[in-house]
């Protein structure tokens, strides 16, 4: 159900007056007669039954549960992250932040991490021999300018898994758009 709604219509979706809660000066919590509310009123109703509540629900305008597949697109963590598993600890970085995975570490990139979560900065500090930061600029992260290939190749030689960072924080790196292809021109005879 998707509806445009005015303020009055939103208010009319459901309407019931709000009772003001009277202040109570009795002690808050405990066991014994002194914990009774200062003003005792005779019971007015039985507690609500499931049948009564179901009937009340039927009178309420409600669109039901969202259909599978119609869910809102979100920046959910799982689909926008890469997970790195080291022994019984894991970390995550934005998807696109992992710039290089040496062949010997191919198995550390996982989709279902387990164990204790450790933030990237801490995980990198604990595993300096295998995880490394690769500082990039915002223009490089947004794909506006390419990462210097010579600098990246040099970093790869250390054999560490490289994660793009800005000031120590992991950042995704978008691919640099390919230049528009140029139609081949006929070569002169």
């Amino acid at each position: 159900m998707n509806q445009f709604i005015s303020g009055a219509a939103f208010a009319a979706v459901l309407c019931a007056a709000h009772a003001e809660t009277a202040p109570d000066t009795s002690p808050a919590a405990g066991f014994g007669i002194q914990y009774l509310p200062s003003k005792i009123l005779a019971p007015g109703t039985d507690s609500t039954s499931d049948e009564a509540l179901k009937a009340l629900r039927q009178k309420t305008k409600f669109g039901g549960l969202q259909k599978v597949g119609d869910e809102r697109k979100t920046y959910d963590l799982a689909s926008h992250s890469s997970f790195i598993q080291i022994d019984d600890s894991y970390t995550l970085v934005p998807k696109g932040a992992v710039l290089f995975v040496p062949p010997k570490m191919a198995t550390v990139i996982v989709t279902e991490p387990h164990g204790t979560f450790v933030p990237w900065t801490e995980m990198q500090a604990l595993n300096r021999g295998s995880l490394a930061n690769f500082e990039v600029t915002l223009d490089q992260a947004s794909g506006k300018t390419p990462i210097d290939p010579a600098k990246l190749e040099f970093a790869k030689r250390a054999g560490n898994l490289l994660v793009a960072v800005i000031l120590g924080g992991a950042v995704s790196v978008a691919p640099v758009p390919s230049p528009p292809s140029v139609a081949p021109t006929a070569s002169p005879r």
Partner: protein, 340 residues
């Protein structure tokens, strides 16, 4: 592209008792989504975001919750900021003034959404500046731990509302719709979340969110008192099992002579009074040890378990009741005969 601000300060206290925390900053730069993760090293203070060279950015606050040897990451909050985005607040209304907002499964709650800075429909501003969308969602809690776990369900309702004008919009009677076969025993939370205008190609950012906890309706069971039996003395073996007492409630047992009748003020048994001012539902077992205080002459008596909560204007609700007969007069059937 307009530079929103050189730096954006996420101010306020970030107080988390345990776990590793971080903020994820998401923005679109030159048509590409750029995601930063900002580690949080302390329990309080300020975090300075990365530069925002776009017209809007989404900030998500995450923490890790460790159970046993496994950590689960939970999103604590999300906020979207932007140059053209309207300013939106969302607030829950409940008869229970507790913070965070809460209500009982059978009690409606209200929602107030305030929108300002929305551009008129005729404006040439982006669509995201001219309307917002409100969606309603839920999370179930574990009925024992009263917490969100990896196995508890969550989802969105199909209801969605779109606002195209500035103003304050209030709905004062929203009834919880948490899925389950026993609606009075529903336990979880519902949220009204205001998102940026939905676009088929972009992900919606969250502008505001209001969440209400839903706690079950309390139940009670009396045992040890047999309504079919006539007692020759005041019963002393009665107990009351109380389940899911509302976090702020006073519950007690009263006794009065006669058949059950709602609206009767009886004698409150002092040993049965139990009150809570908590953040989650409570269970208790009461022993009815002073029933004699409410019993005078012989006859039929009614025993009622009552509870008062922030709802119903302070009027108690009857959770359950039973009756018992007392006849302390001993009738002897005998005959006297003599033998000469």
């Amino acid at each position: 592209m307009k530079l929103l601000r050189p730096l954006f300060l996420i101010a306020g206290s970030i107080a988390i008792s345990s776990g590793a925390d971080f903020i994820r900053q998401i923005q679109t730069v030159s048509g590409q989504t750029v995601i930063y993760d900002l580690p949080i090293t302390g329990d309080s203070g300020q975090i300075v975001s990365k530069p925002i060279p776009s017209t809007s950015a989404v900030f998500q606050l995450y923490t890790s919750v460790t159970s046993g040897t496994t950590s689960t990451l939970l999103k604590l909050d999300e906020k979207t900021v932007g140059t053209y985005l309207p300013s939106v607040t969302a607030q829950i209304l409940s008869d229970d003034p507790h913070v965070p907002a809460r209500t009982r499964a059978d009690k409606p709650y209200g929602v107030t959404i305030t929108v300002s800075g929305m551009q008129p429909a005729t404006s040439t501003a982006p669509d995201s500046a001219k309307q917002v969308q409100v969606r309603r969602s839920y999370k179930l809690y574990d009925p024992t731990t009263h917490a969100v776990t990896a196995t508890t369900a969550a989802g969105e309702y199909a209801d969605s509302f779109q606002f195209q004008t500035n103003g304050t919009f209030t709905s004062t009677s929203v009834l919880q719709q948490l899925p389950g076969s026993q609606p009075t025993q529903a336990i979880g939370e519902e949220s009204f979340t205001v998102y940026t205008y939905p676009d088929s190609t972009t992900v919606q950012g969250q502008l505001a969110k209001a969440t209400v906890q839903i706690w079950p309706v309390a139940t009670a069971a009396i045992s040890g008192i047999d309504s079919a039996r006539t007692y020759q003395g005041v019963p002393t073996t009665g107990t009351v099992q109380l389940t899911n007492l509302y976090p702020k409630s006073a519950t007690y047992v009263q006794v009065y002579k006669g058949a059950p009748m709602l609206g009767t003020n009886g004698t409150i048994l002092p040993s049965s009074v139990i009150a809570y001012d908590s953040s989650e539902p409570q269970n208790a077992i009461l022993t009815i040890s002073d029933l004699a205080k409410g019993v005078s002459d012989d006859g039929l008596y009614t025993l009622e378990v009552l509870t008062t909560t922030p709802f119903n204007g302070g009027v108690a609700e009857r959770l359950t009741y039973t009756t018992f007969n007392i006849s302390r007069t001993i009738h002897l059937n005998s005959s006297i005969s003599s033998m000469e």
